[in-house]
Symmetry: C2
Subunit: 348 residues, 2 copies
């Protein structure tokens, strides 16, 4: 009976912001779970978590924890994935990793199921879940790439603090209240935990997400640039990105500019493609002020697209405004989709 | 003595958010004022305002109010400017208009003094102050255009609520506190006063500033596109814009992407140009997390530029992050600069 009931699943980083959403998503989507194992750092071990009416105790993640595990969903930071993902694989698990540890590894598929599900088949035990801001963008761009070709992508992001974890959510809450009270702001976390300088996120915008690279780009920007090319299977695609942290809690928004290969493409063509694409919802009616916002996307699995416009100064240029819940499609839901695909296609 | 003391100045819209900043700026810059006349709608007439230790009573703006006025700074909305600017001119005043009423009129110079001061000389009584988000962008782009040529500009904005007036500031304050208290949000003003739909700005992003045009762009976006070409004297310049309202009070930020004409331009070249340009301050040191933010620019007259990067995928492409106080350089200070230029150059 337990065989029929489902698969042995481990969630690594079960107490984190994304881990919590993974559990909610597994429950909501009624994922076929045999045994569920909740793992974390030693610091969070012992935490009690409720799942489908049963109470689970979070255990410290160790190599031997993965004995008997079939699917391991990792979301506990890159260092944990680097230390334990191969240990899990060597014990027979397939790892869906939500960190940046393996994303650009040529042996690791980087997958958004609506875009490149077929890449999952070639896995060697690890499938990487892309960066949140990349996922929602490529989900919107894929149908356009397929229909009209794509040679250029330029994105400026409007990213929620929950992408920096539960502590960042707390910092936005606390600093916002302090600001409204007329008190001094004393930021300690954002833009990046452990960095030398911190800037207040309350009623502000911080043009730094993750650490700076030698070339002046942040790691978040380089993730968007490199991951987009890998997922869309086009190393020649020109991608430019600026990533900005903003004072809202959930859902990333993106101002995306694209140039398609075909000429004579219309706004209506793109609207129809978005409307028909899986996992993507068109919310685009300027005359009635219909467009997505971060707040309107919270708690939803889909990617929302609006404000599609043609560039009057460039024959093949279009704008899109792309919004999605960064914790769901941007993280937990995309990981669970990959796990569902592993089962459905017998790719475990 | 009164002749030597200064000029007769009228501030139209003296009780508004920008009007207040105009008075602060006139005081701070010690503008040579003979008689000061504070004007407003009949609704705000009677308000008492302090200027340099004297109390002034705001009077209702009427055609005959402008008798004897030499310089009239208008900032009371487009309809007031349309009704009264020509009345002021016919009575001998030179009007500096901070609304969109005359900006694209070919007979009206549209001026950012650091960029195209010389255009002021050709005025026929009215000089238009550009849109706030346009001013800061062209101030940063002008030295680059002069040195290396400019053929493309793409901007995504991060705009403060004070651009929508004092009521919008109040709405952000009230809705933010309501959100933190876990109360329902009941937006009544933003994105646009008088529009059918309103979206909460607290902990959100609204991709609509001003009303939608037939082509799917907002009026704010079309202002940026058209005004940039006019101020930079280049009708062939390709300009693309997406304008977004965000939950902070003051200073607009802009993610600007440009393509220059010259090849082999370096980041250091652009940094040097920005450093030497008037009214523009370079804040760009990624290794030490130095970049401008909206909060860091509040109350300052300059335009701040950081995050200058070369596009690895396009030989002539660069990113810039441009921040300025939307009420000062974006409105009051630019208007006062125009008035100063009128006097200094004997162009009254």
């Amino acid at each position: 009976m337990s065989e029929l009931k489902g698969y042995n699943v481990a969630v690594v980083g079960a107490t984190g912001a994304v881990g919590q959403k993974m559990l909610e998503t597994l429950e909501k989507k009624d994922f076929p779970i045999g045994q569920l194992l909740l793992l974390s750092s030693s610091r969070s071990a012992g935490t009690k978590i409720n799942f489908k009416g049963e109470t689970y105790t979070v255990q410290e993640a160790k190599p031997e924890s993965f004995e008997g595990v079939q699917i391991a969903l990792f979301s506990a930071g890159g260092s944990v994935s680097k230390a334990l993902a191969h240990e899990a694989v060597s014990r027979g698990a397939v790892v869906v990793d939500n960190t940046s540890a393996f994303r650009m590894d040529p042996d690791v598929p980087l997958v958004v199921p609506e875009v490149n599900e077929i890449d999952i088949e070639k896995h060697n035990g690890i499938i990487a879940n892309p960066n949140c801001s990349t996922i929602q963008m490529v989900a919107a761009l894929k149908p356009i790439q397929d229909a009209h070709g794509l040679n250029r992508v330029m994105v400026s992001t409007y990213q929620a603090v929950s992408g920096a974890g539960a502590e960042a959510v707390e910092e936005l809450t606390d600093l916002s209240q302090a600001f409204l009270n007329g008190e001094d702001l004393d930021p300690e976390l954002l833009p990046v935990k452990g960095e030398k300088k911190h800037y207040p996120i309350a009623f502000n915008a911080i043009p730094q997400i993750d650490v700076f690279q030698e070339n002046g780009y942040t790691f978040e920007e380089m993730k968007m640039i490199n991951e987009t090319k890998k997922i869309l299977h086009d190393t020649e695609l020109s991608v430019a990105a600026t990533c900005v942290r903003l004072p809202f809690f959930t859902s990333h928004a993106e101002s995306v500019y694209i140039e398609v290969d075909d000429t004579n493409v219309t706004v209506q063509d793109l609207q129809r493609l978005i409307e028909e694409a899986p996992g993507v919802v068109l919310e685009d009616d300027p005359a009635n002020q219909v467009y997505p916002t971060p707040l309107s996307a919270v708690g939803k699995s889909d990617v929302f697209v609006g404000r599609i416009r043609k560039d009057p100064d460039h024959p093949n240029g279009f704008h899109l405004w792309v919004v999605s819940d960064n914790l769901l499609k941007g993280a937990a839901w995309n990981s669970v989709q990959i796990a569902e695909s592993l089962i459905k296609n017998n790719w475990l």
